[in-house]
């Protein structure tokens, strides 16, 4: 409902998901998605502006035209696709589990039992997965990732389901008290979001992703931000998504 | 001053404070309202001052009918000074400001003039040293004197005083009497509700006795007080001879 400067590309993301979307010490946006957005903007010949919007505010912002695109590690889902359009996926990952140290569980089936409690972060694919597939355990929704991890570490819940990299990082933080099951038990893909019906922009985005992948842009970013994780995953013998 | 109340009724909820009150006075410079407690003196005073509207009936002061019309009542209020039975100074202002503020804001005196005027009145009532005290820090009589000073400060045409000397010692009462006399000389008019017959007799030229919300007797001050015409008035006044 508003006129805007055409020479600026406004990208919305929640800058609290390292190493994809975050800020550096001087409060500047940085991370994999940010560099991606920069590349995309220069490809479109536009000036980039990043809006730091909490995850829940991203889709409303897009729908009311306050931003042009969402690049915020957003998984493409059926339900989201009814509200916004998604580009081709640019990254495939999967859900993993954080359990407490003395929990013998090895798979989702082990924790989906009566009397068990599973923590998820509200609005994430972990949340969507559990509401669809978890039958027996009680699901607890959290607003903050840190809270969910703390719950596992204090034994208040049995497991925390989230994506691979987050589970890994949370486990690093609570190594004494938790254990991570880093073998993804499902597959999902991240994509860039645009307004419904904005096929023109979406086409340009898809073309950019194609080129970016083939020209090794993603690999370079992986080496820059995730080299340590990559190495550790190799040592631990888990598949790494990036 | 001509005063005329015609079948005035004032009803508070269940309570009929004035019950068909009729008073007609052709000319008076100082009217005293006397009568038993709860008889309706304060209510009559509030109505005459234009602070409240009667439930029914008409009230005429000189040529103004102030009973039914809010605008007229408000115009009337501007030329009037009132002292309530319970002083009613503003608790958040000191004695000096209580007097000076209305002068400055309502009567458009300059600030300096207002203060000078207030100070001279405080002096007259022997309150100068207490001028910066808040009402809660003043004695009963001091409060009352400030209230009187506030009422007469803007030189109103008519001053309404409800029990103005109840908290005053005889010396201060004499002082107030002097003030009243000089007001009368300055062609101001007064209506005073009081329990002190001696004071009423000296201050007023006309006296009205009100009891049970009705007029009992009205007439020349010394005549009504010394030779009351009705049984009820005689009864009431006899009691006052005791003191």
């Amino acid at each position: 409902a508003s006129e805007r400067d055409d020479s600026v590309l406004i990208v919305g993301m929640e800058l609290s998901y390292p190493p994809f979307e975050m800020t550096d010490e001087s409060n500047k946006p940085t991370g994999i998605s940010v560099e991606m957005a920069e590349a995309l903007a220069s490809r479109l010949g536009k000036e980039l502006r990043i809006e730091n919007i909490p995850f829940a505010g991203l889709i409303p912002s897009l729908r009311t035209g306050k931003i042009d695109l969402i690049i915020s590690s957003m998984t493409r889902t059926e339900e989201r696709a009814q509200s916004i359009s998604f580009s081709d996926p640019y990254l495939h990952t999967g859900l993993c589990i954080l359990v407490s140290k003395d929990n013998p569980a090895t798979s989702v089936a082990d924790i989906d039992m009566p009397g068990k409690r599973i923590a998820v972060k509200q609005g994430t694919t972990g949340h969507i997965y559990t509401t669809k597939h978890v039958r027996n355990a009680e699901i607890l929704m959290f607003d903050k990732e840190a809270a969910a991890a703390l719950e596992v570490s204090q034994g208040k819940v049995d497991a925390f389901i989230y994506d691979q990299i987050s589970i890994y990082l949370n486990w690093k933080k609570h190594q004494e008290t938790t254990r991570a099951l880093l073998n993804p038990f499902n597959e999902e893909s991240w994509a860039i979001g645009a307004q419904l019906g904005n096929t023109e922009l979406l086409g340009k985005v898809n073309a950019f992703l194609e080129d970016y992948k083939s020209s090794g842009g993603f690999d370079a970013l992986g080496d820059k931000y995730l080299s340590e994780q990559k190495r550790e995953f190799k040592e631990l013998g888990f598949p790494f998504f990036f | 001053m001509r005063l005329e109340l015609k079948s005035v009724v004032k009803q508070y909820g269940q309570q009929r404070a004035l019950d068909n009150l009729n008073i007609a006075i052709l000319d008076t410079s100082c009217l005293a309202l006397i009568g038993p407690s709860g008889g309706g003196k304060s209510t009559t005073l509030r109505l005459l001052a234009g602070l409240e509207a009667p439930t029914s009936g008409s009230i005429r002061i000189n040529e103004n009918e102030i009973g039914s019309d809010a605008a007229k009542r408000n115009a009337h209020l501007k030329n009037v000074g009132v002292v309530f039975q319970s002083y009613n100074l503003f608790p958040h202002l000191n004695a000096l400001t209580n007097i000076a503020l209305p002068l400055e804001k309502v009567h458009r005196h300059s600030k300096a003039d207002s203060i000078t005027k207030a100070e001279s009145l405080l002096q007259q009532f022997q309150l100068f040293e207490h001028r910066f005290k808040m009402p809660s820090q003043l004695s009963g009589g001091q409060n009352q004197r400030v209230a009187i000073a506030r009422a007469i400060a803007p030189d109103p045409d008519i001053v309404f005083l409800d029990e103005p000397t109840s908290a005053l010692d005889p010396e201060m009462t004499a002082e107030v009497l002097d003030a009243i006399e000089s007001l009368v000389e300055a062609k101001k008019r007064l209506v005073i509700a009081t329990h002190q017959m001696g004071f009423a007799k000296q201050a007023a030229d006309t006296v009205a006795i009100i009891a049970g919300g009705k007029l009992v007797e009205v007439g020349d001050a010394s005549q009504v007080i010394d030779q009351p015409g009705t049984e009820r008035a005689r009864e009431f006044l006899n009691a006052s001879l005791k003191f």
Partner: protein
């Protein structure tokens, strides 16, 4: 001076302040108790503090703190304006205005700020074609806090005794003058504690503006929390940052309150 007499305040002369020694010693004792409770709990938790990683982001905290402060200051001014106008409208002769004020106060106080921010930013501001999010943020906070201030002022105004209104009428004060010189000073005095509290609330509530991407204090702290994977380390600066503003406000209000005291 016995130990008892240090900690006990005499019954007599309740107005009189206790001695300086008494106050400091008692305050110290109270603060000690609270600190011990917190310290004990953290000790039981065996939490491994990691201040370094949080400290690296101190620029973020500072920046957010200033943003919050700026927004709160500007909002506060407008909130007072809106609140005062609404309180006045609540006494208007023209009844629809009166009910508009009531509706405003009740709808705003009755619904979550979150919903209001959403509605206001994405619907009303959008329809009015206002794009600046800081502008909208300030407007929302002013409207939100204004409703509370309006209610506080209304209570203060209604608390002024009727006999004083009669007295003001007798003196010849116009309605405006009665309000200005009789009602307002007394109402302000009696609503001061509530107003100070509301100011503190405004500062804290502004944290909800994060959902329209205003990078204020709380949002920034939570980002640091998420980025550094720390649980508690970023909450302490947050608490202290808010206290640094709210505490002086509440203290100041108490001082003014004491100064303006008068007896009815």
């Amino acid at each position: 001076m016995s130990i008892k007499s240090i900690f006990y305040h005499a019954a007599e002369g309740d107005d009189a302040l206790p001695s300086r020694l008494s106050r400091y010693a008692s305050f110290f004792l109270a603060a000690l108790l609270l600190s011990l409770l917190l310290y004990g709990s953290f000790a039981a938790l065996q939490y491994q503090w990691n201040w370094q990683s949080v400290l690296r982001y101190k620029a973020k905290f500072i920046e957010g703190w200033f943003t919050t402060l700026k927004i709160a200051c500007v909002s506060l001014i407008f909130a007072f304006l809106v609140g005062a106008i609404s309180a006045l409208c609540g006494r208007a002769r023209f009844l629809p205005v009166r009910y508009l004020s009531t509706l405003y106060v009740e709808l705003i106080r009755g619904t979550p700020l979150l919903v209001q921010i959403f509605l206001f930013y994405y619907v009303i501001a959008d329809a009015a074609n206002i794009q600046n999010r800081y502008f909208v943020g300030v407007a929302i906070m002013a409207i939100f806090s204004g409703a509370y201030i309006s209610e506080i002022l209304r209570a203060g105004i209604e608390g002024v005794g009727k006999s004083q209104l009669l007295s003001a009428k007798a003196i010849g004060f116009s309605e405006y003058q009665t309000f200005r010189y009789v009602i307002a000073p007394q109402a302000l005095r009696s609503s001061l504690p509530a107003l100070a509290g509301q100011t503190a609330n405004l500062i804290k509530d502004s944290s909800l503006l994060s959902i329209i991407a205003i990078s204020e204090f709380t949002l920034n702290a939570q980002e640091v929390n998420a980025i550094t994977y720390s649980s508690f380390e970023s909450f302490f600066p947050l608490a202290i940052g808010y206290l640094a503003v709210t505490l002086p406000i509440m203290r100041l209000s108490r001082v003014i309150e004491k100064k303006l005291q008068f007896d009815t």
